[in-house]
């Protein structure tokens, strides 16, 4: 049974939530679609951040903390014009993970983050979706810089960052208050 607080909104509240969701851009790659997250996606989010792999993401979280974290990542759209996308497969519209362009107090620069369900690892979906979000950051948002903050033991995320072309930035790491690896995504030349 779905807990009451995870049920989708109804009535005019649903209409308002849908208005906000509709304003969040949809990005498509060959095999994935990045779209607005909805309450129904929370269960997948919680299953990732409340699991042992959440220990690389500041967790593992309790479900209540995961809810706050999920809400905040969504709020990025309202605060900064960038935030959390839910990633689904285009073939069968199955939600498989999340990509986020985040910015929280304490972050020196915007962050590209990625969270994917264990079952879909190794298929290149995360790389495909994260690359689309990264390109959105450069070409649509016009961001000046973009980094991924990654726990030193999160080898899968480090591999993904490297495959995306990001490189470790020791100088940026030295400026952090809390230890983390900083992988900097190289900014492409401005298009003419």
């Amino acid at each position: 049974m779905i807990p009451r607080h995870e049920m989708p909104p109804a009535g005019s509240a649903a209409a308002l939530a849908e208005t906000i969701a509709a304003a969040i851009p949809v990005l498509e790659t060959e095999r994935t679609r990045l779209r607005a997250p909805r309450i129904g996606d929370f269960d997948l989010y919680a299953s990732i951040v409340c699991s042992p792999r959440g220990s690389h993401l500041g967790g593992p979280y309790t479900r209540a903390d995961a809810w706050s974290d999920f809400s905040r990542a969504v709020a990025g759209w309202l605060l900064h014009g960038h935030g959390l996308w839910c990633v689904e497969t285009r073939a069968d519209r199955l939600a498989i993970g999340f990509v986020v362009i985040g910015l929280e107090p304490g972050d020196a620069e915007p962050e590209l983050g990625f969270l994917f369900a264990r079952e879909v690892e190794g298929k290149g979906f995360a790389r495909e979706a994260a690359a689309a979000a990264r390109d959105f950051a450069w070409h649509r948002l016009g961001l000046e810089s973009l980094v991924s903050y990654i726990d030193a033991e999160n080898t899968r995320a480090i591999e993904l960052a490297l495959r995306l072309g990001a490189r470790r930035d020791a100088a940026a790491e030295a400026r952090l208050a809390e230890p983390a690896c900083v992988y900097r995504h190289p900014r492409p030349e401005k298009r003419p």
Binding site: P3, R4, H5, P9, G11, S12, A13, A14, A15, L16, A17, E18, T19, I20, A21, A23, P37, R38, I39, F42, T62, R63, A64, D65, W67, S68, F70, S71, R72, A73, V74, A75, G76, W77, L78, L79, G81, E104, P105, G106
Partner: protein, 178 residues
């Protein structure tokens, strides 16, 4: 991104969407002892998280919390809204006023507007407030708005020994309010 969050008006107050600029009034409240019955005091950096959680709440649920401003002065006097984070038993009417804004009936006035919104626009059938047993000021507001203490309690975070149980106050349904 512009917020399609509705603005509510009462005789003396305007309820508007919370924005990042409101941190300058929210942070002193949450850092002060005034916030002790609603989950505070909190360090300043946590207040940004709270504001972001409130905005995400609007996006995901289609309802949430407003900043309350005095119509005449434009001064922010507190927050009021419909709040259903984490594992709350159901959506609650929540409110807090900043120092110097109490004793004027503002919380009751704003709360009335939000109840009307919940039962009218949103079509809700029930509404509660979760109130600390020692928070007599908040209890007075709830009582003036017709709520009754059910005597049931709720602990929002059982894992945290410092988390205080709150009492569930229940408002009359929409039929009784009209």
């Amino acid at each position: 991104m512009s917020l399609p969050i509705p603005t509510l008006e009462t005789a003396r107050l305007r309820l508007v969407a919370p924005e990042e600029r409101h941190l300058e009034v929210e942070i002193p409240f949450w850092e002060s002892e005034r916030s002790r019955f609603v989950g505070g005091p909190l360090p300043g950096y946590r207040v940004w998280r709270l504001l972001a959680t409130q905005l995400g709440h609007w996006a995901l649920r289609g309802y949430g919390s407003w900043m309350v401003e005095e119509k005449g002065s434009g001064r922010a006097i507190g927050m009021v809204g419909l709040w259903h984070p984490g594992e709350w038993p159901e959506s609650e009417l929540a409110y807090h006023l900043y120092e110097g804004s109490e004793g004027k009936g503002y919380a009751t006035e704003a709360g009335r507007a939000v109840i009307d919104h919940a039962y009218g626009t949103l079509g809700w059938r029930t509404l509660i407030s979760l109130i600390d047993p020692e928070n007599t000021a908040s209890q007075s507001v709830a009582r003036r708005l017709g709520a009754v203490n059910t005597g049931e309690t709720f602990v929002s975070n059982p894992a945290d020994p410092a988390c205080r149980p709150v009492e569930i106050w229940r408002y009359p349904g929409p039929e009784a309010m009209t």
